[in-house]
Amino acid sequence: MRALVIARLVIREAARRRLLLALLLLTLVVIALTGWGFSRIPTITQRGAPLPDLQVKLISSQFLIVTMFMFSFVLAMAAVFIAAPQISGEVESGTALAILSRPIGRAEYVTGKWLGLAALVAVYAGGAAAIELGVVNAVVGYIPPEPLAFIAFVIAEGLVIMTFALLLSTRLSGMVGGVIALVLFGLGWIGGIVGGIGAAFDNVGITHVGTATKLILPTDGLWRGAVYALEPQSLVATGAQAGPAAAANPFYAAAAAPLSFELYVVGWVAVVLALAILSFQTREP
């Protein structure tokens, strides 16, 4: 139960230090701007005539994917910035001394941190995505095929990068851990593209690079799962005609994320959290 005390502290800190407020306001501004952008799509004319409804929806779906990529990127950055100094910061400042001398185990402390951060990630990702989808629906009447699956994938992506940053936080300073987590996040994204290029040219070695990065830090795999949930069937069909080369496009997914990958991600988070606990067991504040 003491883990929940720590979790509440994490959430309270985010609220008190106006982090949530800043994120919320910025997100609302972005949603307003993109909402305005979406509202302009039906006004586009082709040779004097408005675009057919199907085309409006197709453009909207593409625009939505790019917009959501930006949200997922902001989410990953925010998750890293909050998680990376979460433990190391308390150890360096001395705040951890008073807490850890209490009848609380290291596992409870790390788990509490994770739970608090997970709640923040879920609320931000879920909230921002839900509002954006609602605005798009209100403005152009477009709802992607699987909005809930999309939100689940984005939350999972946030959880993965947050858990990784928290592991680094048990040993490295916030700045070092944050930089490493973000570089790996970027590498994962590029790895996904590289893997796609490998598939396009039927190069097994390069394809393996893509698969390996997807397994080391499964954020890009989750992003592809999120993209697939946003793609209308017509788009998937068009992509399929383009052949395997389409896989290199980071805003496109040819197929849904397999169940085995989803299970892998659950296991990945559990293992990395366990490693964080193990690592912090021997850390001496």
Partner: protein, 309 residues
């Protein structure tokens, strides 16, 4: 506190090494429950390391220790025992985005105090450390001294059987220091064991029952203040004594100089006239003879100067 074991802290060759650096080299001591115990030593002597080991914040390299009966090696038992331990770290930092009352509430919850008792506990702690009128201000706006007072309040929550204070007055003004001494006296009256880590000798001298002097990670002397401070010493203001003459006086006790005074430690009072006679016989002229009350500082410095294993 009826179930408090008679010995609050015991250590047996407790040691901590960081690579080649020995932070604590085999600490052996026993602190009876209810004692106010002063842990004295210069900076870098291993005092904070000892406290961190006792609290489970660091793992010993070798040896064993028991806190309120729970061995350090049994993490579960030790964690349970920490319900009865209050701690003011040398590096006192609390969540600056919370108010003092909220910090105390978090600690009430971490200790596992009955929720119904929180308000009374918090009020008590705030009153004792003198923060009652600033209780709802953010800690971020506190001075260092106020933050240390808050830390003391945190350490007192839940009436712990054992309180470890690591340099508790480092950020306090003279009034604050006086307040801390009073708090320690109140704790003693309650039967609380206090482990006071300090390099401030007057502080230790005024409140502690027993003292351990540590240097380079080892206890070099431990005992009550009475045992530690030699009272059978005299100082003699004399002139005309040659260095060779002093050798003959060594049979009376340990000799040292304090300006123009000659200090003789370990001399029984009945031998003082004999000492004066011996000085005169060796050509010395005696102007004054007085008993010398050794302060803890004298003892501390003389112990640190001596080579010890």
């Amino acid at each position: 506190m009826s179930d408090v074991p008679p010995v609050a802290i015991r250590t047996d060759e407790l040691a901590k090494r960081y690579g080649k650096i020995t932070a604590l080299a085999g600490l052996t001591m026993s602190i009876p429950a209810g004692d106010v115990f002063g842990f004295l030593g210069p900076n870098g002597a291993g005092k904070t390391t000892a406290v961190k080991l006792l609290l489970g914040l660091a793992r010993p390299s070798s040896g064993e220790g028991w806190v309120l009966g729970a061995p350090l090696s049994d993490r579960t038992a030790h964690r349970r025992a920490r319900r009865g331990v209050g701690y003011l770290p040398e590096l006192f930092r609390y969540q600056h985005w919370l108010s003092a009352r909220e910090v105390l509430r978090v600690h009430c919850e971490l200790i596992g105090l009955d929720r119904a008792a929180w308000d009374a506990e918090i009020k008590d702690a705030l009153d004792v450390v003198g923060l009652a009128d600033r209780a709802d201000d953010r800690v971020g706006g506190y001075s260092k001294g106020m933050q240390q007072r808050l830390g003391l309040g945190v350490a007192l929550l839940g009436r712990p059987a054992l309180v470890l204070l690591d340099e508790p007055t480092s950020a306090l003004d003279p009034v604050g220091r006086h307040d801390v001494r009073e708090i320690i006296r109140v704790l003693k009256a309650r039967g609380t064991t206090v482990f006071l880590n300090s390099h401030l000798l007057t502080e230790v001298e005024q409140v502690c029952d027993r003292v351990a002097i540590v240097d380079k990670g080892r206890v070099i002397q431990v005992g009550t203040l009475g045992e530690l401070l030699v009272t059978d010493a005299v100082r003699v203001r004399a002139t005309g004594l040659e260095n060779g003459a002093l050798d003959g006086l060594r049979t009376f006790g340990e000799l040292s100089h304090e300006g123009e005074w000659l200090v003789v430690r370990g001399i029984p009072a009945m031998r003082v006239p004999e000492l004066v006679r011996a000085i005169v016989e060796r050509g010395g002229q005696v102007y004054a003879v007085e008993p010398r009350h050794e302060s803890l500082e004298d003892r501390f410095l003389s112990l640190l100067e001596k080579p010890h294993a």
